[in-house]
């Protein structure tokens, strides 16, 4: 199994070549005009995607998605639960010209492309925790970790608050205006619906944390909610979080997405390999998370030097480690893990990326 994490500093995508030759792609990103997962798939000679996952509608995960969908016609798609987002985007599209509107333009383009696919193939599913894809005879399964039903409903409710009816007309709320003008951060709204995944292949487990955060602190929300959902008797997947081999760290290594409970499970008896796609503008990963990972992970891959995530990692006690190079020019902001069924993983990275130990 080969896991490529692409991240140029703003944007994140994961491409997984499954042991049976199938391909899973999570999210999309663009670097200097190049659609990174598309370029990687071209280099790998892949002509279609078997499972495409659109975790949530943030620009750094959705940019280029429409193009990816149209070029690689995924066999099946897991889309974050969008609720009334199509309508909200329609309303917003006609209302805002703020810089923040690019997020909605891209999200709308991605959703339109997926709607086209839905019309023709019917294989787009809104996915929440507990969804499973397990091709017959493949020997692996992909399980959605999040969102929980509680966070899904929370996100729907928040999306409704973007627009309001006033004086008999529909308009942006003051809060939404502030978001789009950049006066206030959008907060965790898109991340509330973020899908996360775990891939289980024999004894191997790979957690792709999406942008799952810690939610509102209730037991139904964020990572606590995920752990509770998987442990539900009718789901019975609680063990999937234990003794993990590889973790794509959630939300670019933000402190708000770090879960002691989840990491205690991931690293119950052995420390996994951790990978971070930085979000340079917000200086993610944080020094705090990099320090915690020092104790919880055995290796750390950082996909890009943008934002000095690797520098912060070194200051947190990580040291450079040897790794093979990924000979793909367009996807140089990339780390790769090759995972055999048994034995040690092989690490590789592109020119802009780094492995640390």
């Amino acid at each position: 199994m080969e896991i490529y994490v692409l991240g140029p500093g703003v944007g994140e995508s994961v491409v997984v070549r499954m042991p049976d030759g199938r391909t899973v792609v999570v999210d999309c990103c663009v670097d200097d005009g190049t659609n990174l997962p598309a370029a990687l798939l071209d280099d790998l000679g892949v002509d279609h995607i078997d499972l495409l996952v659109l975790t949530h509608p943030d620009l750094d995960h959705v940019r280029g998605m429409a193009d990816l969908v149209r070029r690689f016609r995924p066999v099946r798609v897991w889309r974050y639960p969008r609720g009334l987002l199509r309508d909200t985007l329609q309303v917003l599209g006609g209302m805002t010209t703020a810089a923040g509107a690019e997020r909605f333009v891209e999200a709308r383009a991605a959703n339109d492309a997926l709607d086209e696919l839905l019309q023709t193939t019917g294989t787009v599913a809104h996915t929440t925790s507990g969804a499973v894809w397990s091709p017959p005879g493949a020997g692996y399964r992909v399980v959605a970790l999040a969102p929980t039903p509680y966070d899904e409903a929370r996100a729907f409710a928040r999306a409704r608050e973007l627009v309001e009816r006033a004086r008999g007309r529909v308009r942006l709320t003051a809060q939404a205006e502030a978001w789009f003008s950049g006066e206030r951060p959008l907060g965790d709204l898109p991340n509330m619906v973020s899908i996360g995944l775990v891939i289980e292949w024999g004894a191997r487990r790979i957690v792709l944390g999406g942008d799952i955060e810690n939610g509102d602190g209730t037991p139904h929300s964020g990572w606590r909610g995920v752990l509770a959902q998987l442990a539900r008797p009718d789901v019975g997947l609680g063990a999937l979080m234990d003794d993990v081999d590889v973790v794509k760290v959630a939300h670019h290594g933000s402190t708000g997405a770090w879960s002691d409970e989840a990491w205690a499970r991931h690293a119950a008896t052995r420390r996994p390999v951790a990978i971070i796609a930085p979000y340079a503008p917000s200086r993610l990963p944080t020094a705090d998370v990099l320090g915690r990972l020092r104790a919880a992970a055995c290796r750390l891959g950082i996909t890009s030097a943008e934002g000095d995530g690797a520098g912060r990692a070194r200051r947190a006690g990580w040291a450079d480690a040897a790794a093979r190079s990924v000979p793909l020019v367009e996807t140089a902001a990339c780390v790769k893990v090759t995972l055999p069924r048994e034995g040690d993983a092989t690490l590789a990275c592109g020119a802009r990326a780094a492995w640390l130990a």
Binding site: D87, D115, A153, R232, V235
Partner: protein
């Protein structure tokens, strides 16, 4: 022998002995259902009987609401006794019972709905009624009603399964989600226990699963209110084999899909459909925001559908659409049985007139509509008096007329602190000393049990606003000196 009344939870299983009268949770519910009940009485009562005369008076546009309600109560009891072969059927009766009190500045329809539900509450135990509960937010009022309960089809469809906890109007949605494996029984249980509005969330889940054309069809239907006998509840919408959603048509496939997933549900009459209140409430705002042209055209088309020979049920729905279209002439033309809904048109005009920039002409036009309501319909309509005065004042209308109108509003609804406050405030603005009355008012409203509605705040702010406009600052100071503690506690923004 009077036919026993019953409360049916879910869709009644057998045929009904009368047409179902739908409540929608809209502002016109009370007037509309009252008119439909009167129409039914007129059809059933012996010619020349007291009930027949009462029905005719109920349907006369100038009959005051209070009078209408009183007439209705007596006539309903008479007909139930005289005609045990028929019944009065109210569908989604919880929409009448589950009334959140409106804020004092928009208090209009909730009181009327309470009045109408009060009539049903008193006459239904005597027999002749089927009250259909499709939602269960009517709560205690319906639970306490002395009428036997039975369970209908939609409840049976959920059986004892995971959907049994939910109200009937979302059980079809649940069944669809479970059948499509979009949701497991365990997730449904999780939703029930962790989500703030489980029923609304289930609507969202079904809606998000639908392709765009079906979503658009659902939104358009959420804006539509047509009598059940007109095109099965789909009004003037055509069902097109090809093409997308327009103001006049939805794809045939979309209709089938809406009905399959439960966003549109069967009534008790074969071939007739309705969109449950839970669904409608969720989608109507989206329809206005995302397809305003189609929704506006739909309202105009339905508003124009009433003809001189149209039935009462056709006219009341046409009137609703005419009001929503904002076309004042059309709204007035279709106001054959009541005029209170014209306030919705006036309200919009008044809000637009508030600007910026403010428009005295706009306020004058709004005042004129309220005057029409009072002159041609119900001269006891407190809301119309209040906003006739309010708009007339902002249009620089004659002060004695403004004062008279504020006084009438207060007289017809003396317990509304805003109306009371504006009346006092306007008197103060004109130079009258109202300090003692204002202090008494603040102390009186401070004793109200329901302080969540902020009666002191509504009252005091209105008084102070008037006094400020009249530069009567000494009066404001005197009132504040006398009631400082109460104002700090109960009206910090006054």
């Amino acid at each position: 022998m009077v036919r026993p009344s019953r409360i049916v939870v879910g869709r009644p299983a057998g045929p009904l002995a009368g047409p179902a009268l739908f409540a929608f949770g809209h502002t016109d519910d009370a007037q509309r259902v009252a008119a439909l009940l009167a129409d039914r009485i007129a059809a059933l009562a012996a010619p020349g009987s007291d009930a027949a005369r009462a029905a005719a008076e109920c349907l006369a546009p100038r009959t005051a609401w209070r009078r209408r309600i009183a007439l209705l109560e007596g006539a309903l009891a008479d007909v139930a006794e005289a005609r045990p072969d028929v019944e009065f059927v109210v569908w989604d009766v919880d929409a009448l019972a589950a009334v959140e009190r409106e804020a004092f500045d928009v208090e209009r329809s909730s009181l009327m709905r309470r009045d109408l539900f009060g009539v049903i509450e008193r006459v239904a135990p005597g027999g002749g009624w089927t009250l259909v509960r499709t939602a269960t937010d009517g709560g205690a009022l319906l639970d306490e009603l002395d009428v036997p309960r039975e369970f209908g089809d939609a409840v049976g469809e959920a059986g004892d399964g995971p959907g049994a906890w939910f109200s009937p109007d979302v059980r079809l949605l649940i069944a669809w989600l479970l059948a499509r494996e979009r949701m497991s029984a365990g997730e449904l249980d999780e939703i029930r226990h962790t989500v703030a509005d489980p029923a609304g969330h289930l609507v969202d889940l079904v809606y998000q699963e639908a392709p765009a054309a079906i979503q658009d069809a659902a939104k358009l239907v959420s804006a539509l209110r047509a009598p059940q006998h007109v095109n099965g509840g789909y009004g003037r919408l055509r069902f097109a084999e090809q093409g997308g959603v327009s103001a006049t048509a939805i794809p045939t496939a979309a209709r089938a899909a809406l009905q399959a997933c439960g966003l549109v549900q069967p009534t008790a009459a074969p071939g007739q459909w309705w969109m449950p209140r839970t669904v409608r409430a969720r989608l109507a705002g989206l329809a206005e925001g995302t397809m305003p042209a189609e929704v506006a055209a739909l309202h105009v088309a339905e508003g124009r559908a009433a003809t001189p020979t149209s039935s009462v049920s056709e006219v009341v729905e046409a009137h609703h659409h005419a009001v929503r279209s904002g076309d004042l002439d059309l709204a007035v033309t279709t106001a054959r049985y009541y005029g209170s809904e014209l306030a919705e048109v006036a309200k919009q005009i008044s809000r637009d007139a508030a600007g910026p920039p403010a428009s005295k002409q706009g306020f004058a036009r709004a005042a004129q509509i309220y005057q029409t309501i009072l002159d041609r319909f119900d001269a006891t309509d407190a809301y119309a008096w209040e906003y006739y005065a309010y708009n007339l004042a902002r249009a620089d209308g004659p002060s004695d007329e403004v004062l008279r109108a504020y006084q009438r509003a207060h007289a017809h609804r003396p317990r509304n602190p805003l109306y009371h406050g504006r009346w006092l405030g306007y008197r103060g603005q004109l130079g009258e000393v109202v300090v003692a009355e204002a202090i008494a008012g603040i102390r009186e409203y401070a004793l109200e049990r329901d302080q969540s509605r902020q009666p002191v705040s509504f009252f005091a702010r209105a008084v102070f606003a008037g006094l400020d406009r009249g530069d009567a600052h000494g009066q404001v100071t005197a009132i504040r000196a006398a009631c400082g503690a109460l104002l700090r506690d109960l009206a910090p923004n006054a």
